[in-house]
Symmetry: C2
Subunit: 206 residues, 2 copies
DNA sequence: GTCTATAGACTGATAGAC
DNA sequence: GTCTATCAGTCTATAGAC
């Protein structure tokens, strides 16, 4: 199935998988080479070093994690209620397909905050002053909700969507009996529940 | 300030710090020894190997993360509303003091699920059927709330409390201008807001 | 471009003196 | 118990053949 893609792409796919699973520290270039079905030397031929390969994967991973909802957040032709539905659905679907992504990004930043943020280009970008925040603020003002900011609501959306997926192994071991099937149902239920809860917080009536 | 504690304790404190920051893979035994102010050989004298030392720290970390609220969750003499307040406050305070803890635990489980769960004793324990879940279920039944389970609510409490602390570095870089001071206020606000939101979900009137 | 073989650096762990 | 010195293994990276 990966017959017609370039060697470079094969290595990147393998690197993404291994880095996401093990993290930079525990990932071995040999693992990546083996996973890609090529020789170790070839990895350095294409990417010069483990670190350079990592930087590329990290940059793409950040893109993957935030690019997901950037369009949605900034869209001016979608009303707040629909937008909440769509952000939750998109986050849960996307992270479910790539469950290691958030923990990879977050823990690498924790292990090496300066490097990731400076070298991989995250500096200066801001999520404040986007259209979604404006829509939330309008709703807060309209209903006279006290003490709530758009950022708080946004963090709630992200928290409630991502955390149960990030914590899947923990959840499946702590809440027995909880098999794959039960977990899937649990997440599917959340896809409907989270928007309801967010709208409750913002007093959006449907 | 650490004059009267044993060498063993000094090493454990150093190990906890280094492991929590860097994770197992990127932590070096030499870093731990230096942080503890002792020689590398002494680390192996007390703990035989990096892995054994890690297992001890991981066991304690899990204890730290869950032991926190076990008493609270099982307490039969605290009503649901107060319990929600206390769980949120305790989680936020404790994780704020030890912000690397959750990501350390979660990402090590991700990197090595079998090992952590089997070797470090997490198997068989269940959070279902505790008194908090019973209290939440009663409230759900009483109000006739549809489609919501105690587990969903519990995950919401944990998600909304932990995630903003875990994601602090990201948050502080993505939502400029956001300094230490602003972040502290943001978290302090959440301490009051999260219980309100949870009670909203459960239709608890105060 | 892709391989084998190996250099060179780092890391965990131990031997042995005190 | 604590140290210095060092080994043995592993890892990244490269040289060089094809």
């Amino acid at each position: 199935m990966e017959k017609d893609i370039s060697t470079e792409e094969k290595i990147k796919n393998a690197a993404r998988k291994v880095f996401h699973e093990k993290g930079y520290g525990q990932a071995r270039t040999r693992d990546i080479a083996e996973e890609a079905g090529i020789n170790l030397a070839l990895l350095n031929y294409y990417f010069r070093s483990k670190e350079k390969l990592f930087d590329i994967i990290m940059k793409e991973s950040l893109q993957e994690m935030f690019g997901l909802i950037v369009n949605l957040v900034n869209a001016e032709d979608i009303n707040l209620s629909d937008k909440i539905d769509m952000i939750v659905a998109r986050y849960i679907d996307s992270i479910s397909k790539n469950p290691n992504l958030p923990l990879f990004v977050l823990s690498e930043i924790q292990a090496n905050p300066h490097k990731i943020i400076e070298n991989v280009g995250l500096k200066g970008k801001s999520i404040a002053n986007n259209f979604l925040f404006k829509q939330i603020q309008e709703q807060i003002d309209k209903k006279g909700i006290k003490g709530v900011t758009p950022l708080q609501i946004f963090i709630n959306i992200v928290s409630m969507s991502i955390f149960p997926i990030v914590g899947k192994p923990l959840l499946m071991n702590l809440h027995a009996p909880f098999g794959e099937k039960e977990y899937e149902i649990f997440i599917e239920e959340r896809k409907a529940l989270i928007p309801q809860w967010i709208k409750m917080m913002l007093q959006i009536d449907e």
